[in-house]
Amino acid sequence: MEIERLVSREDASLRDIAAVIEKDPPTAAAVLRLANSSYYGLAQKVGSVTTALSVLGLHTVRGLVGMAAVVRAFAGATFTLVKPELLWLHSLGCAASARVLAGEAGRGMQEEAFMAGLLHDIGLIVLLEAAEEDMVRVKEALASGAFDSQAEAEREAIGFSHAEVGAALASRWHFPEPLVHAIRYHHSAQACEARARKNLPASVDPHRGMLGVFVFIADQLAKAMAMGDTVDPLVSPIPEGLWTLTGIPVEALGRVMEEADELYEDLVDSLVFSA
């Protein structure tokens, strides 16, 4: 698609991108709704796509365009194992939780964390649409306790996991490598922690591996607060070592989760019910 190609180009200007987005009403509407949501707290309403893009920034716009592509591709989704709208709410809950966690950790990467949360399950939509019978077996295997990890159950049933499918899609859309990594390993605490402890140079990963850490934890928090639904709605244990990397005291969790829930409710009102 023209939008996806343009957004992924480093030299594309906001004006060029706005011109293309304006021709695509669903994406333009999503961009305007998000810029006008109380999440951004603007005093005045944003009416133009160009202004909305400057408010949101390129990271967020890339994520929205990616999400819009998935939604468009599966507008006629036939899967019933999970209601598509509840799956979307789970992603929104993970995005809100990841954003609040990143803010609390003082990492200055709230936007990237938000988008990583929003997109972490894009591969799941693909698997549900393409292999729902296998995914029914995956859900049953998880419910029976045969597997602790959804990714492992999917590899057994299908040969690869939704996280791997999502990462492949994200690579194809030229998403930044740290985002691709976060999508690929959002079910592997070990891989997230290993990357964060590697202390890669900022030129390789400006987020020092923390994107995956925030998404892994946010995924569990969203499940704990029953935000939406997914194939494996049960909360998995979060290793203490992974949590330590955030630098957030455990005592702050109550406030962090309340803030995440408030942001989630706010986003649901502005993004879903006004759609």
Binding site: M225, L234, P237, E240, E258, E265
Partner: protein
């Protein structure tokens, strides 16, 4: 306090605590229903007591515990379970739908 649900269900009257900032969704719902008048309650009758919160937490405890693959153990997971319980109880007291 009557929240957005009553508007959406068509009761025709909205009661909000004084000083409450109406959400855009609520304003749109008011406009959609053609409600001409909004009554403002004089006092914040919407506030619930600590005892109400405690009772609500007790009533949803099993439901929240069932969201965990394993019984939460250790300081971190226990804190998450406690926070989830508090969020759920407050949501129920506010009358918000669990979505």
């Amino acid at each position: 306090m009557v929240l957005a649900e009553s508007v959406l269900s068509g009761s025709g009257v909205v009661l909000v605590a004084q000083g409450t900032v109406l959400s855009r969704a609520l304003i749109e719902a008011i406009e959609r229903k053609g409600i001409a008048q909004v009554f403002i309650e004089e006092e914040a009758a919407c506030e619930w007591s600590a005892a109400d919160l405690e009772a609500m937490q007790a009533s949803v405890e099993g439901e929240v515990a069932a969201r965990f693959r394993e019984r939460p153990s250790g300081a971190l997971m226990e804190a998450i379970a406690r926070a989830a319980l508090s969020v759920e109880a407050r949501k129920r007291l506010k009358g918000g739908a669990n979505r």
